[in-house]
Symmetry: C2
């Protein structure tokens, strides 16, 4: 690792001259600038980022803490974050909480010691269930935090949320009004999460307003979700529409309906949740509520960078990224 000091020795000038020359300072003569830059290029000099960080007490690194990367929604969000950060020459340190409170705390504590300029986080399941907020509050005092999707209302920080209630409300209404469905089943594997609850409420509201009967199938992280769905459909042959609120059970439900020789969408309409590419792994191509993970990631990163660059303390914002219902072949009577 070649340093300013070494360059200065080789050139018989002082360290500060080298430093200034490399930053093209007007104080330095063109002649020395040339000499310096030439040697710097030759030896492939690159300023040591750690030293720069210590000096400036800015790292240009963001800590990203997510529950999982195997959930394509979070993978998409992280991708969105990376896209925006890289445009602004920021790096990201990614930590995976695995839905564990303790792991999340460790990540925050470790990274908040000067390693990152800010955080973007979707809080772990356990954290949300136990309502533990101390690690966010203590870190948040000195380092800006942006929460997305999984958000804690009682923590004061910026947030990027999804209109979960509204989206599912509208999707359900669509099934009722446009598709004339009346026995609509909601399938959930995330009912203990705040986002899950909002989605279920959206469904319930639409069902109630239409004077219909609501049916919610909770899978409780069972190991055989497909079989549970199959059994349910067998025992409730009147179901004529299914809406799933996570990224995988929609496709399962579609497959199970087909297994029971139901025609989709003629006999049963299906709407899944997640991201647009889901449609490629199902036949017919599944209609989905696109959570816009990429968008959420970009928005979160921008929000955080704004907060970091503004000298005046902005008060925390909450932005909403609207989901979008993509109708494909599992809805509509004419597929």
């Amino acid at each position: 690792m070649v340093t300013l000091k070494e360059l200065s020795k080789l050139l018989n000038v002082s360290v500060s001259t080298v430093s200034k020359a490399l930053s093209d300072s007007s104080e330095i003569s063109d002649a020395t600038k040339r000499r310096v830059t030439e040697l710097a290029n030759e030896l492939n000099y690159k300023p040591n980022r750690i030293a720069q960080q210590l000096k400036s007490s800015k790292t240009k690194v963001i800590g990203v803490v997510v529950p999982s990367l195997m959930n394509p929604f979070f993978a998409e969000v992280v991708h969105g974050i990376e896209t925006t950060l890289e445009q602004h020459n920021y790096d990201m340190t990614v930590c995976i909480s695995n839905e564990s409170l303790e792991k999340e705390q460790r990540s925050f504590n470790l990274l908040s010691t000067g390693s990152v300029d800010g955080f973007i986080v979707a809080v772990a399941r356990e954290t949300q269930n136990k309502h533990r907020v101390k690690h966010f509050e203590s870190v948040g005092k000195t380092t800006p935090i942006v929460m997305f999707d999984r958000v804690l209302n009682d923590v004061s920080c910026s947030k990027v949320v999804v209109d979960d209630f509204q989206t599912v409300y509208e999707a359900t209404k669509y099934l009722i009004e446009d598709e004339k469905r009346s026995q609509i089943l909601l399938i959930s594997n995330i009912e203990e999460l705040s986002v899950g609850q909002s989605r279920i409420k959206g469904y319930t509201r639409a069902i109630q307003e239409a004077g219909l009967h609501s049916s919610v199938l909770k899978l409780d992280n069972a190991s055989n979700p497909d079989e549970i769905i199959l059994r349910y459909l067998k025992n409730h042959t009147d179901i004529d529409a299914i809406i799933s609120i996570d990224h995988i059970t929609g496709i399962m439900a579609l497959n199970m309906a087909k297994k029971l020789n139901k025609n989709v969408p003629k006999d049963i309409s299906v709407i899944g949740f997640g991201y647009v590419d889901s449609k490629y792994v199902s036949s017919p191509r599944i209609s989905v509520v696109d959570q816009k993970g990429f968008e959420i990631g970009k928005t979160s990163a921008k929000l955080l960078l704004d907060e970091l660059s503004s000298d005046t303390k902005i008060k925390h914002k909450t932005l909403m990224v609207k989901s979008k219902l993509h109708l494909n072949e599992t809805t509509g009577t004419k597929p």
Copy 2:
């Protein structure tokens, strides 16, 4: 951010005393140790990691550069990396190359300026196609690199590879010998990658050895891969087995076969590629070659950490993680 200096002022002792007391040095009296640690706890002192990094010229951070996170294989690998790193108190900076050479180079150049102690990388498609290796070679001189899956043979560094040839060879042989299939179609969307070529070779070898006719359907990143597969199956009604070598076209092929009223696995056996959880989104549950992404991630991280901790320069190793064929319901005459 409270520093040693501040503590030392408040306690009327020198900075070095505080530093030693906090690291429980035997030079310091128990009395002062107590005084120091008490105040440190009270003020929630945490050593500044950047300063430690500058002093020790070790960052305890690994740079991870992958082509994508939307491909569940890479997401799984990154998860495996994180799991191992976190056990050893390392963090990771994740960069997504998006299959772009230029982005990959930028990431390497930026991070190699003291930001990370080592790299784990799966090289981008473009890099592999254009055979550009300079950024790896120049960085590799000073910083250890581990390549996984997408590997460049002419770069000297440690590698973690998959036995692609052997795995597909065996899977094909299984279809031929155990399932008595004779018209086996291979579907590929990654034929330009080295791993894709190895897989195709494994297939071809098995087919040739059995004296059968080989058929390879290349999708060329088409926007309507499902339709291409459907058309192919329509025009080649004699196909009695399908093997896909990427993570998504296997499920597509299964769905298309069903659409043509083929019974899977009675009429057609299907084997996909990817990871075990794929089976949850298909019906019947798809048989897959599990690439063991998690394992690959853990192995890569361990290999790198070994290299970092050993003072003697180990020469570079190449490890192999064996894939495993998981037979589910899309193979076998008795599902």
